[in-house]
Every structure is written in C-alpha cells, then in structure tokens.
C-alpha cells in the first residue's frame, strides 16, 4: 500500500526543549489514521508539522524528514502555500469566516483562480454534500456561516477544506467541541469520504478512533509508543503503556 506521507526521525524543538522525540510514522493513501494519547503527548504538535502550521510559532525548529510523495516538505524548495493546498486542516473550534455559507466554501476556489461561476457553484454544492451539511444549508446559502450551530459550522469548515480538493486532510480534535449527535454526523461523513482523501485525525475519544480509523498511532510524552492497524492496537496492544492508556489507567 502506498504511503502518501512519511515521517522519519522527526524532532521538534521549542527553543531548546525537545517536544517530539524522533517520530517515524507512515500515512497510507486513502486511509484514516487516528492519533491518540493524553494531553501534551505531542499528537497535535505532530499534526501541525504536516502542513507546517508550526512555522507560525516563534522559536520552533524541526529536524528529521517529513515527506509528501517522496518530497521533503521542510526542504527550502517547498512552497508552503502550495503545500497547504494539498494538505488541508480542520480545527478543534469551528472557525468559519464571517461570510455567507456559499462564500466560505467558494472563497478558496476564487483565490485558486477559478473564475467559472458554474464550476464554483457546482464545487460548493458537491463539497457541502460531501460534508453532509447540504440539506441543512441549501436554502440558506447566503446567510452568515456564524449563524449556524457549532456542528453545522464545523461541517461547513470541512466543506471549505474539501472544496479545494486537498490530498490529505488533517483534523485536530474536530468533534471535541461538539455534541454527540453532531460528532456522529462528522464521523459518518469521514467514513463516506475516505475513498477520496487521506485523513489524519487527532482525537481524545478512543471510541471514535476505534470506530472510524484504519490505523492508530499512540503518542506519549512526545514519543510514538505504538502504531498499528486500529483493530490490532485496540485488541492486542504490544506495549504496556498502550494497554494502560486504553484501559484508562492514565491520561
């Protein structure tokens, strides 16, 4: 199976403090990889390396390699803007732009230089359908996205990412600010789009990881303790820490 993204000996420092201690992790194409672990274990930090969001934090240095289609994304030749078009991101808090629903989704397309109105219209509709929010917003496309519920806002944000057709979608605890019903809808939509996208999702919710992911990686104290198929990791963890965490002994 082809790996879209591969990390080798990835280390991240805040100033002199090493926060990620040499992570080796592969993301197989069109699979969902769940990153689990207690707070402060480095899973979100790792996720934010994958689209170079950590560049925005002052004093961060990163060593090792992180390759997208065999090209190191931290090489000086990488165009970060282009990278982030290929690697989209959904955040913990729904953060739609303060525009209409339509403009939220269309904005990225317009900036990408698409002028054809019919095409934009079609893409917006497809993306909102993929994000399983179309039926709820189709009559209110011109209303401000912030006027919708948190769950709907989050799905609009997902549609916004889908519209620019990235290869990888990073999700940083996308359902932790939502109620269980909204969270369930997002899980369903992830399962329905996984044949088109590669997804990496950080989650605190172990049931969520076991329900939707194909592969699970367990982080602890900035180290990758164990990675394997979700079934294997949950049923028969190899490491004691993994088993302790899954059984709720800490974290």
């Amino acid at each position: 199976m082809a790996n879209v993204m591969t990390a080798r000996n990835l280390r991240l420092y805040y100033g002199k403090h090493e926060a990620l201690h040499g992570i080796d992790l592969d993301f197989p194409k069109q699979k969902i990889t769940a990153l689990i672990g207690p707070s402060g274990s480095g899973k979100s930090t790792f996720l934010r390396c994958m689209n170079r969001m950590n560049d925005l934090v002052a004093g961060v240095t990163i060593t090792g390699s992180l390759k997208l289609d065999n090209k190191d994304i931290y090489s000086p030749k990488t165009d970060v803007v282009d990278l982030r078009k290929r690697v989209g991101m959904v955040f913990q808090q729904p953060n739609p732009f303060p525009f209409s629903v339509f403009d939220n989704v269309a904005f990225g397309l317009r900036l990408a230089g698409i002028k054809d109105r019919a095409l934009i219209q079609e893409r917006v509709e497809t993306s909102l359908k993929q994000a399983a929010v179309w039926d709820e917003v189709k009559d209110k496309l011109n209303e401000n996205a912030l006027a919708f519920s948190g769950g709907q806002q989050q799905r609009i944000c997902i549609a916004r990412v889908l519209a620019v057709q990235p290869e990888i979608i990073l999700m940083d605890e996308p359902t932790s600010a939502l109620d269980p019903v909204s969270a369930g809808k997002i899980e369903d939509l992830l399962l329905s789009i996984q044949d088109k996208f590669t997804i990496a999702i950080v989650t605190h919710n172990m049931q969520q990881a076991s329900r939707i992911s194909d592969q699970t990686a367990f982080f602890l104290d900035g180290k990758l303790v164990e990675v394997g198929s979700t079934k294997q990791l949950f049923m028969a963890p190899q490491k004691e820490e993994t088993s302790d965490y899954l059984n709720g002994k800490f974290g």
């Binding site: 969001m53 953060n95 732009f97 525009f99 401000n144």
Partner: protein, 295 residues
Amino acid sequence: MNAKIIDKIATAIISLLVGVVVLILVALIGYILFTGLPHVSWHFLTSPSQAFLSGGGIGDQLFNSFYLLILTLLISFPIALGAGIYLFEYAPKNWVTNTIRVAIEVLSSLPSVVVGLFGFLLFVVEFQLGFSILSGAIALTFFNLPLLTRSIETSLSSVPKLQREAGLALGFSRWQTVLGVIFPEALPGILTAIILSAGRIFGEAAALIYTAGQSAPVLNFANWNPFSPTSPLNFMRPAETLAVHIWKINSEGIMPDASAVSAGASAVLILAVLIFNVSARWLGNRIYRKVTASK
C-alpha cells in the same frame, strides 16, 4: 457586609459616575447648541465671513474644514493602514519594531501646538509650502498618524487568531489572508478609528494656526481650476478652518456680532462631527453586512 450589599453599592456608585459623565456631556453640548443654533441659518452657512461688519457667515471656513479633513485622511489613512498591517501581521517581535511602537506612542502624546510649530518650521518655512492647506494637511497627518496606526493595529488584533490559521491552512498566502479574511472582519473597527480621528482633525485648531494659516481668502465656488488662488480646490492657498475661526473670533474678533458668530460656528462644528460620526457608522455597518452577509 455581605456580597449582595457590596454589589448593590458598587452598582450604585458606577451608575452615579456614569450619570455625572452623561450630565456633563449633555450640559456642554446642550449649552453650545442652545446658544449657537439660533444664529445658524442658510445665509450663515453659505456666506463668507466678515472682519469688521456684522452679518458674516462661515461658508468658506466650513468648506475649508471639510477639504482639509478629506485631504488629511487621503494622506494619512493609506500610510496608517500599511503601517498597522505591517506592525501587526508581518513585523517580527524584536527591538526594531519595539522602538517603532515606542516612537508611535511618544508621537501620539505630542501636544498639537508642538506639531503645529514643527509643521510651520519644516513645511511652511523650510519647504516653502507657505501657509497652505497642504502644509496643514501634512501637519495633521503627523498629528493623526500615530493614533490611527495604533487603532488600526488594535482592530486587526481583535480578529481571532483562528481566522488567520483557517486562511493559512486553506493555502492562502499571508497577503490573501490579510486582505480576504482579516481586513473585512476588522473593517468596523478600522472605520471607527477613522471616524474618531476625523473628529479630532475636524476640531483641531492649534496645529493649523501655524500651518494652514488664519486668513481665509474669499473663495469663488464657480472657479474649479485647482491652480487659481480663489478656487476652493487650490490646496496651496491659506485656509482658515472652522475651529481656527472660532479661536480667532474669540481671541481677536472685532466684528460687532463676534459672540454670536462664535456660538453659531461652535454649534455647526459639533453638529458636523455628529453627523459625520453617525453617517460613517451607518456606512460601515452597511459595508460590513454586505461583506459578511450577516443581519
């Protein structure tokens, strides 16, 4: 004493203080409008002023004030916007930018008389711009720039960090994020900043006395050639503004109806600032609603 009583006392004190502030404002504005408005007529608003006779108006001064305001904003807003965006979005946090910030703070606390004298020495005398609208506009830009930059920076910083990340994570460049996401969201704040500074410019006298001058050559409103000395559009001519006019009448006015003209002019000044504020706010809300599709 229990928390409930303390809370009540605190609420009472705060309400009282607010009441005092409101009372002072209402009394002040009320007095100015009450004494001034009876003198305001169409003739008063449109006719030129008189130096020795009664019955003079404030037409030219009113026009000068607006013209100077527009000119000053045309110069200072683009600079302040650029500086504000740079300081907030691009500038690294180091000693250079810290120095710039401190310099802005210091500049913003300069008394306007000092700005006026500086403008007089540099623009009027050294650059030989003479007493002119242009000198006045540049001096007012110096006076206005620090506060405008500061408040634009503040309104940019009130946009949540998440919006910035959302834009960047979607593969927008920094400039696209600033222009497409941050700017529309900061727009109401930026407009408020412009309005506040416009009020300050409109009411400013001290900085203009030495730069735009205290004389108002009679303007010919049929003459729109900007190079003619009697044209209202000529910005190399000296121009007494409304605020300067009020100051001048009160310090050395010898027309028989000086106090009436002064009261009327003050009322017009306050009304103009008020109307300007209200309409700019209305416009800002409209633009914001249009951009954001909110209700």
